[in-house]
Subunit: 312 residues, 2 copies
Amino acid sequence: MKKRGTVSVREVGPRDGLQMVKEVMPTESKLRWISAVVRAGVRQIEVGSFVPATILPQMADTAIVVQRVRHSHPKLYASVLAPNLRGAQDAVAAGAQSIIVPISASEAHSRANVRRSREEQVLQFGKVAEWIHSLGSGKPQIEAAVSTAFGCSMQGSVPEEEVVRITGQLAHLGADIVTLADTLGYATPSQVRGLVRAVRSEIGVDRFGALHLHDTLGTALANVAAGLEEGVRAFDGALGGLGGCPFAPGSVGNVATEDLIYLLESEGYDTGIDLERLLEARAVLREVLPNERLHGRVAAAGVPPTFRLLVD
Amino acid sequence: MKKRGTVSVREVGPRDGLQMVKEVMPTESKLRWISAVVRAGVRQIEVGSFVPATILPQMADTAIVVQRVRHSHPKLYASVLAPNLRGAQDAVAAGAQSIIVPISASEAHSRANVRRSREEQVLQFGKVAEWIHSLGSGKPQIEAAVSTAFGCSMQGSVPEEEVVRITGQLAHLGADIVTLADTLGYATPSQVRGLVRAVRSEIGVDRFGALHLHDTLGTALANVAAGLEEGVRAFDGALGGLGGCPFAPGSVGNVATEDLIYLLESEGYDTGIDLERLLEARAVLREVLPNERLHGRVAAAGVPPTFRLLVD
């Protein structure tokens, strides 16, 4: 089958997936999991976040994780989350190639997640972006991730025009790329189409980053398909469908990376990721996280006989 | 929100959902379950199948079920599966308003499922259709359901042109409507788009029935969305995601009706079905089928706060 182009997939499990897990995972376990994902062909991984260890002890070793993966996997593009300038400075010091700053489209979620209003967090993003751009050559990419862009468990609906306005502000303040996150998993396919179109019209196609979709209501792959049809070529996923936001009641896992790869490759897109090896990486994840429930339909059902015919 | 039109949803749990369940469900339990589904607003239910009781003891009471639901729910449109003329005659005698004859697009599945080649089963369908059309006024609708239309666990891929050819034969032989079934759950959104377009071009838009989609690989809702965009306005679902074909190794449940209704109503379509009452019907199903694992994300996550805003 002729390929329809490439789609990039970023694994966010070690950050978004792990932040809901209470038991702190040892650094060596994180590195084993990340290495297994790299072996499957994944080239972008969000490896952790720079937040106070008192808030998220799970992320206390992020600087070490960044240093180690940069050393072990020189071709990997390592992203980290940083909610403020202090976090971004720590991230750069550790060697992260991409800094992701979360900005909530929902006022209620913003106050719960980063303890600032939306407007204050947009200004905080501006400070981070200004500092990053002052670094000159070798500076990391600065990404603005708009969370609760498709709805919020506390606020309910989030008006499309507000999301569009915020993305415009973030682009103006220096975001290299802007990503839209369905933190709660409330998005529907036509909502995805509409918001993607409106945001790309506001900030330009090249500045549009990834869609970050959760699967709370089983609609994540339908939303991926809608994004694909609108021309989106970058998606986040978490192996085993881990994930959820500790400050967004009701949020559950990200779209399972293995199901995402199955859909993308079946639809004729080249992700550079080997599905069988990704399922092997899932087995490693199972070993290092034995008490967590993993999701994902491909792992449960097995790779169907039609799949090889499609991708070979 | 302005409605985008109506979509009809048929509940197939009492037939497709139950045929994989080993423990035979008492007739009264089936009737309680069906009544709860009717209370939620469902107007089409596939209530059973007319196959030899030695093969599927679970379906031995289908004639009684049809008679009872016709009496209790005069507004319900009761469908039954009948693989041959004998079954269709029993179905008509019981009072079924719609006879669904399965025809496999995969030769291997056809031989396993109805013990006939595809061509023999197409001829069998012709006999059933001829007899139904001879009944005159009050005759039931005759539907041809093309199973394994998107792939088969035994055969692998099923070429689109073969499916299209079979649907043409079935229309020519007198099918009132032709339904496409993804028995294994291997379909992808672009495959759905392509096959729907080709089949509608072959048999005409008015003769195109429902899409019957399984969720083996998590793609069912993405495939529903693709069908919607192609103009399909009828879908099958099974409460709790029950289902699977005993003669198709690896097949698992239908798309969960509750998740299907969530998606359709969220997307602005009027299904006439109340999601909260459907979740109450699921509780009844849980009672009458305590040992079976139910699927469905809406039931697990709860109806999100954005949903009422959309449908009110």
